[in-house]
Subunit: 445 residues, 2 copies
Amino acid sequence: MTRTPPDAPLRVAVLGCGVVGSQVVRLLRDQAGDLAARVGRPIELAGVAVRRLDAPRDVDLPADLLTTDALGLVSRDDVDLVVEVIGGIEPARTLILTALEHGASVVSANKALLAEDGPTLFEAAEKAGRDLYYEAAVAGAIPILRPLRESLAGDRVTRVIGIVNGTTNFVLDKMDSSGAGFAEALEEAQDLGYAEADPTADVEGFDAAAKAAILASLAFHSRVTASDVHREGITEVTAADIASAREMGCVVKLLAICELRPGSGDGDGDDEDAAVAVRVHPAMIPRTHPLASVREAYNAVFVESEAAGQLMFYGPGAGGPPTASAVLGDLVGVARNRVTGTRGAGESAYADRAVLPMGEARTRYHVAIDVDDRAGVLATVATAFSEHGVSIQTVRQEGRDDDAQLVVVSHGATDAQLAATVEHLRGLDVVREVTSVMRVEGVEE
Amino acid sequence: MTRTPPDAPLRVAVLGCGVVGSQVVRLLRDQAGDLAARVGRPIELAGVAVRRLDAPRDVDLPADLLTTDALGLVSRDDVDLVVEVIGGIEPARTLILTALEHGASVVSANKALLAEDGPTLFEAAEKAGRDLYYEAAVAGAIPILRPLRESLAGDRVTRVIGIVNGTTNFVLDKMDSSGAGFAEALEEAQDLGYAEADPTADVEGFDAAAKAAILASLAFHSRVTASDVHREGITEVTAADIASAREMGCVVKLLAICELRPGSGDGDGDDEDAAVAVRVHPAMIPRTHPLASVREAYNAVFVESEAAGQLMFYGPGAGGPPTASAVLGDLVGVARNRVTGTRGAGESAYADRAVLPMGEARTRYHVAIDVDDRAGVLATVATAFSEHGVSIQTVRQEGRDDDAQLVVVSHGATDAQLAATVEHLRGLDVVREVTSVMRVEGVEE
């Protein structure tokens, strides 16, 4: 399948020349000598597909390298490698599939597409005998997919907890440090360029859910798509929630949580009926947890595995140059494979684990309740918890004139048990209002 | 070179069955099904080389798998993969070279050997067309070598700062949290099993220096050996140094620092006369630095690169299961390569950068000086700094009866300039004693 003589350059087509694409092009040029030495052959720009030829862009490109015909570019016989940094489902999917059919190796940063329809792409890569790498799709410059796929290939990953969306981390961090409410913190994030004009994908957790699906698939060797991920955003998080977390020595983060639930087997490494739970929601974590110190728009991924124990990977989760660094790392990888006539590890979904519904995920709840200030209230509330099989870890009671506030933190239980408890609480006469419900993560049950 | 039919197991010889080796054997068994699925062929234990057949060990092994003839084991025709977890220079080197000559792929955790004589091993692997992987040699379970070699292959790493020795981090952390002196903290580390009876390799920085050489070689695509590394241990660190660091908002860590010094070129990516400086010494870093929160015996490696920015990798740096996790990850990698008939990336030393002597490394000093409490002392001391071209960032003066203490923190300068300044200070009439000299890292110049 090698169409180029051994010492000829490998030719790369870049699809998209925005924030990331322009940095990919810049690095390809600035580091040309190093890239050639690391790959064993020079890498040469074959063309860049853009939406408008005359749009302003951050990098100077000769006019003859620019084209609006992306499909034509990926179909060319002289293109060995394709970098897709357009984003979105279409036309990205068609372009990647076409590139693979024409024998190119592909590097993509497209989390939405990989989380929605990864298997279609992986099968096309397998059929074509080419690589599809996508490190940049999760947590920007942080090497996390390769460590999961390769470094931890001899271990059994049991949990991945990530702060994988910089916008929401910036907003929550701002709320924590300044006491601001959600709307105010979001506005500041928008002013500083950390949030987009339409922040829905970030603040509603869609972006994090796509990344969670990708992380879970790799960690547990199973297919997990975005629709398998339970998703809650941060728009309902209040300044009072943040203050309540602070009183508990906690901080609120939007977490992508991927867990392996052991099966009924003997607990050994071949636990065939183990299942997977994947969820994205705001949660309180102790300030002593390594993830708690991840500030501003930084990302971090915390991994627990049977033998390695607790690992954390930290760095910038977005931005042009960091994302381009991850793309280029992948590009060197797929290019080396072209030179040696091999492929990297493809999809690994052999374990084929079931994905549990959210109700079966195990977690802990922090519940704040406004109650009547009269005798027996605590007993009534405690009974509601125990009736649903939920054990209480701590209760804090604060009197206020004629009513009082109870703050309850549960031990671990299923999300269904906890949700039923809260529903039950809302129906009690002595309960005026359940003012805050938030999950607590990063502590043992 | 494949001696086994396509579906036959790959056969692995394990050299050493101590803390790490026994965990490697355990994981090979417990995760046999997963490993086979990930590699594409089963991995089967061919034999385990031990020093004494009757020694107690943490894993049950059939007697016919044990041998004291390590050289015979690695020379066998039915061994495809060799795991070396003996440590030390010999016989490990001879065993690895023999294994490669006989066509086996090798995984090693041997930092001392790789740092002293890596090139000999890499050349033997190249000649044999086999892999030599060694992720476990640096920072235990933390994936750091693969990210440097592969994930950052499209970027330009400019600095690596690691806490890569758990023993010394435990001792310094204990001194910081309890106010204990070095000897007392070391004794506690020994009691808890974090330090060996003869702690020389750890507390004198030899272990960290070996790891620094390995990190620098990979980060800068150049050959750096242990003898190129400037090394100072932590035995001279006093409780007063720790207290002084605390007053500055700093913490003392034993750091492995690998830096790329830009050349005189145009500053682009092909800066051909850039050089490398590699050093291990205790240093103060601000408590806000990500490395400052690395507690107890944990390890972390902080990486700065041109495009990715600041990354950090954190986790357990030693111990049987964590180290075995890293070994098994490598084993899956070299085994996959056997199955697909390829090799991973070998040594990358094309950049061939010069290694600077310590005197040319740029750093900052924190100097505490007991001086006479009389007029003009500060001016005399300041003149000593400026005569050696060292700019002062801050001075703090504390009077005490008839004498006084000055604490000076410099701006960045070469280590030679700073050392000359301290020498000069020691010769001044007004200086009674230079009580503490420590470098300050992790802040901009």
